[in-house]
Symmetry: C2
Subunit: 279 residues, 2 copies
DNA sequence: TCTTGTGAATGTTTTCACAGCC
DNA sequence: GGCTGTGAAAACATTCACAAGA
């Protein structure tokens, strides 16, 4: 989740909360925004996409049940999430798609453009710079940066690449709000510092490092290796469960054992360490 | 994760939990694995990376405080997370780096190889297929798929691209455990079905759709648009807070407003938008 | 009758704080 | 003295279940 986020959450994985509560009574307006749980924010974005899909099909009204199915959550959760942003439904009927889209966009701050800078124009950077869904939703790519002089000036996805040494001034000039770090781990912290110096307050980090930032800068992290390892964990868990199940069956005297060679655990710590060496 | 898993993102962001508890008494072995919270699993992967870094610098021992700093979490959380996998520290001293690496790898199932298939060899697919940190950590890329006949047979990152029509048999043959979907939203569900039919039980989905899968298949989602929108939300929240702060100052009669052009806070939404304009 | 919106209940995760051990 | 491991408390998130309103 995320550095902050991230989850993160989530998520989620991600979603490290961690903001301090002011001692005084919270004013209503501030309270409203602060009160939306991080996890709910992430889902609002998902609902928004589902709603856009419905709007494209000229659906004008949707019930919490229908929308919940489209978004892959249960309807109680969906209603609770929507309740954080206000009461825009009609009892007995459902929600007006257009209204809900408008309100979610407002809540997520999508009524304003957020200029994006992508740093590190390697494979991933290219992919991001060319990513269509990016600018289409109010996130215009305003700058690209790389270290490689051969790349500087070359347009990628329509924007010429700038040299990373100019990151502070270019970000400042073009009013970049969101920086996307797609560099190797090595240079990521330095890049991050440059972005922050250039006035960027939100960072999406694809580099496998924990970034150090001032507390008013928001970082979200997307980490391939972590995602893969989480999946790996679930494979392992399932296997272990199956093995336990099997074992119990055997103990119970009911032999449903494997026809061919058994699912064995390979040898312990050494193999693990060898793997690390390689990375 | 979020996911999940979540979530990170959170967490997650991600990290939808949702597994049912079996009614019977849990056998110890099964219990051990099930008992690790999803959020903790994601962090274990982060600790592992930090530990690998330490190992590379020939550090042999680390305290929970040091490791926590390296991983960007607080030390109580780290100790709690480690306690889920067992007691491998020494009071008054800390943890042996090598031991911890071994235990985390074992827990995450990294002592076994997990063959990966990447589907959709566009910009992102290319990036993934070439991603070095991928195979290096026990996740060899075993297959690539695309729809485009011009791409079929072309090697990308050393592996020739197969046609997507062959996805079921190729996945089966090469014993793919993890499928990575890097296609447009359009074909993603179909691809997913193919992977599942080919015996894949873990999916990392980059396509902006909610995938429908049997309950024994684990899906994690990485969603650019959602991440960007979460960041956007935080920009909006900060601005709103700043506006509220300013408003309160004015109401309190303490004028700390901007020197040029009044820092006024006229009614609600409009003013918020104007302010947004300025930032 | 149908569906929203929401308190209350439940479940999960984080944080605290300190006993136990080196 | 220092640091781990962990119960217990607090914070956070999800689910239930139903009153209120169209």
């Amino acid at each position: 989740m995320t550095a902050h986020g991230a989850d993160v959450q989530g998520g989620d994985g991600q979603a490290e909360a961690g903001s301090k509560q002011s001692a005084i009574e919270v004013p209503a307006a501030r309270e409203r925004a602060r009160a939306i749980p991080e996890a709910a924010v992430a889902r609002l974005a998902v609902y928004l996409r589902a709603l856009s899909g419905l709007a494209d099909q000229n659906v004008t009204t949707v019930s919490s049940d229908e929308l919940a199915v489209a978004a892959g959550v249960n309807s109680a959760k969906l209603r609770k999430d929507l309740s954080y942003i206000g009461s825009y439904g009609t009892r007995g009927v459902g929600y007006e798609v257009a209204v809900l889209i408008g309100q979610i966009e407002r809540t997520l701050g999508l009524t304003r453009k957020h200029s994006v800078a992508v740093v590190g124009i390697g494979n991933l950077g290219h992919a991001l710079a060319n990513y269509g869904g990016f600018p289409s939703r109010g996130f215009p790519v305003a700058a690209l940066f790389d270290l490689d002089p051969d790349l500087v000036g070359v347009p990628v996805g329509g924007i010429p690449v700038s040299h990373i040494d100019d990151i502070v001034e270019v970000c400042d000039e073009r009013e970049v709000t969101i920086g996307v770090i797609a560099t190797p781990a090595k240079g990521a912290q330095e890049v991050c510092d440059g972005l922050v110096a250039g006035g960027v307050t939100c960072i999406l980090n694809f580099a496998p490092v924990v970034l150090q930032v001032p507390e008013d800068v928001e970082v979200r992290k997307v980490d391939l290796a972590v995602e893969m390892q989480i999946l790996s964990f679930h494979v392992a868990r399932r296997q272990q469960e199956a093995a336990t199940e099997l074992h119990r069956s055997n103990v119970d005297g009911v032999n449903i054992g494997p026809p061919g060679g058994g699912g064995q655990m390979p040898g312990e710590v050494e193999s693990a360490n060898r793997m690390v060496e390689r990375l």
